[in-house]
Symmetry: C2
Subunit: 434 residues, 2 copies
């Protein structure tokens, strides 16, 4: 066949799969998964590798087997549900996300992408579409990083298996290592075949809620994610002198919190100046010592989360931060230092992947009488960020009401969830048929 023929056949199969997606079934599957750790406020508490997470994994394994999938697990606990392709030896098309939550999360963050992946397989079955390549739904381990840091362990270890050794030593608040929790989880899936960590993948599409306000504000149900903004994390420490709030005159104080606030104000000014270039800056975590009502702070530490789609803007911000800290360090009586905690450059998904996503989204939206998709970048990390290091990757977003996520109030309209799964079905099927 000519490549035009292949494209035509692939698009035809993609349309069939898209049309076979069922809204009610999708919603029921979302609710069924949300029951594991479901809360009376509508949220879900299901941190990674807890008993509830293991029960939820078992639930998905049984669902996947019922759909005819082969189930495998790798050394990082990532689960793969494979629907066979006509050519079994070809690398699969991957989709999926994660099912772990923040201490209090919603029903959709991560879970939606996994459930929609299984819905795609159901739709392929129902439409009797035979794909050339296998289609694989993945459940990545510990995306949230809430129990064990860092986040996205499963996907980053998949992309670079040597990372797992370090991850295994990460401890939760109770002192349990990720390695110990992982071994216990693997022991509970002894009936599941294991697979090597990091097998070849043809392409990957991740469907996720936006967790931001952009799609809602634009009143469109589907977003074509062109990339994930770059991020740099820092810790800033300021050492002053703890002293008695009552006896120490203002002019002799070395108040570390006051110095930290002056520094923070400079950083906000830098961030405001770069706002038009898309810089986002958050000073989220603070430690004040001795943190006593009648003692001047002697020691303050805070974190800086800076993100941007433009690496040059991020680099400029980092330079300003380091300059401000150096100036503070040189001023009377203070010591200040900045430490880089994490940095990841802008992730750019391949244009041909975005074009494919856009076709799938546009078809689903048009058939539903909805607005055409828009393109946007992701402000949040996703497993796709790491998968993009090893294969052509893309993401689809659906709106988050009021931009709220990591919260029991997280919500997306069922019609939007339905369109997202349809767009995913199209993209995965076309990729698997080429």
């Amino acid at each position: 066949m000519s490549s035009t023929d292949v494209s035509h056949i692939a698009a035809d199969a993609a349309a069939h799969a898209q049309d076979a997606v069922a809204s009610g079934r999708l919603n029921e599957a979302i609710e069924a998964l949300a029951a594991f750790g479901g809360r009376s406020d509508g949220g879900v508490s299901r941190e990674t590798l807890t008993p509830l997470d293991l029960q939820a994994r078992r639930h998905l394994i049984e669902r996947a087997r019922a759909l005819g999938c082969e189930v495998r697990v790798d050394a990082c606990g990532n689960l793969f549900f494979r629907r066979a392709g006509q050519q079994a030896d070809l690398p699969p098309v991957l989709t999926g996300s994660h099912i772990d939550t923040q201490p209090v999360g919603g029903k959709l963050d991560g879970a939606y992408g996994v459930i929609a992946g299984l819905e795609v397989i159901q739709a392929l079955n129902d439409a009797s579409v035979a794909t050339r390549r296998p289609v694989e739904v993945v459940v990545w381990t510990n995306e949230e990083g809430a129990r064990f840091g860092p986040g996205a362990m499963g996907s980053s270890a998949f992309a670079k298996p040597e990372r797992l050794t370090g991850y295994r030593t990460s401890r939760d608040a109770a002192g349990v290592t990720f390695g110990a929790a992982l071994d216990a989880a693997l022991a509970q899936v002894g009936d599941v075949n294991s697979c090597p960590l990091g097998h070849p993948v043809h392409a990957c599409v991740e469907l996720h809620i936006e967790q931001g306000p952009v799609l809602e504000a634009a009143n469109v149900p589907l977003g074509v994610v062109t990339g994930i903004q770059g991020v740099r994390w820092f810790s800033v420490k300021i050492l002053g002198a703890a002293a008695h709030a009552g006896t120490t005159p203002m002019e002799v104080r070395r108040d570390a919190m006051r110095a930290a606030m002056a520094l923070a104000n400079r950083l906000y000014a830098c961030a405001d100046a770069a706002r038009a270039q898309g810089l986002r800056m958050t000073l989220g975590r603070w430690r004040v010592d001795p943190n006593s009502i009648n003692t001047i702070a002697g020691d303050v530490e805070f974190t800086v989360d800076a993100r941007c789609v433009d690496e040059a803007v991020l680099a400029g911000f980092e330079a300003s931060l380091r300059d401000a800290v150096t100036n503070l360090d040189a001023s009377d009586g203070y010591a200040a230092q900045v430490q880089s905690l994490f940095a990841r450059g802008m992730t750019r998904f391949p244009p041909e992947m975005a074009a494919l996503i856009e076709r799938g989204c546009a078809r689903a939206a048009a058939n539903a009488g909805e607005q055409a998709p828009i393109r946007l970048t992701s402000g949040a990390f996703h497993d796709a960020m790491y998968v993009a290091d090893v294969c052509p990757t893309a993401m689809i977003f659906v709106p988050s009401r009021a931009g709220i996520s990591h919260n029991a109030a997280e919500y997306t309209e069922p019609r939007q969830l339905y369109l997202g799964a349809k767009a995913l079905a199209y993209a995965v099927t076309e990729l698997a048929c080429r």
Copy 2:
């Protein structure tokens, strides 16, 4: 006798007692008490009503008995060591301080005033001075407030006994109530006569380290404390909206920490404007929620400690604080509130008490070839603050090296400690002879 004759006799006795104070004995007694909870870094860890504190109390009881004192204890655990006067029915002259410490404190904060009180009794014995009134050395319970809040429980319950009921319900970090700890302490001094809480007192003098830098800077060994500055404590709460640091554009954020910092800057500006009037302001304790590197703060709470010798300045500051909080509350998307936690007006010691202290200090300093005393106000709370509610009260300060206290590095020169005890002997004796 004429009042002139009485004054002459009293001054003569005061001079005899002052001259009988012994430096070596004083220092040995300070070291002996510091052994209870002494640390290898030179500090002392002896929180109130702990086993170490109870051992230290027993040590002092035995010392006082060896000096011929009658020992009594009240319902708040305050210990009184009484040297009889010629007229047993007259209210005593009170001196002393506390022996509890911060989690890590020095050898002198509080302990010095108690040990110097016992040294005064020893000096009176050695000089065979018979005073008209009894002289009583007090060990106040829980001045620091480190284990059980609030501080100065013993002296404030002495001044107003009905406060004890509420204090008994205060809990330490382990959940033990002050009442339970107190009952256990009282059970261990079953051999000590009890006395009512809040007996009549003729006058009170408390000797203490300055815990600030004023005397050291002035290079004088003794300070006449004219009062204790007023204090107002507040808690400020700011409610914004927690949101994802990556996905939330800067222009739609309601970052509670950023709002708190803007408010804090206004407060610093107010404090700076009133610095010349002696205002001291500290924003010491912070709680940031959820306090996560990649989440915008949704909820911030911080404390304000404002102190001044001028009530009008404190009132003006409070008005500015309330105004700033109201303005923030009215601004887009934030809710803010201020709560008063504690307020105590300026304590002014009677001028005639200050004059007496000054005579005692001046004589001791002149005889040692040291600089004459200066007058100052106390920036810190002391038990004398509450005792001043029930009788004429005064304080004497000795220098604190580098102003450091609540720290193992707390230090005062032995010659200064010696002069402080001499000044105390003079003041107590003169008061007891009139």
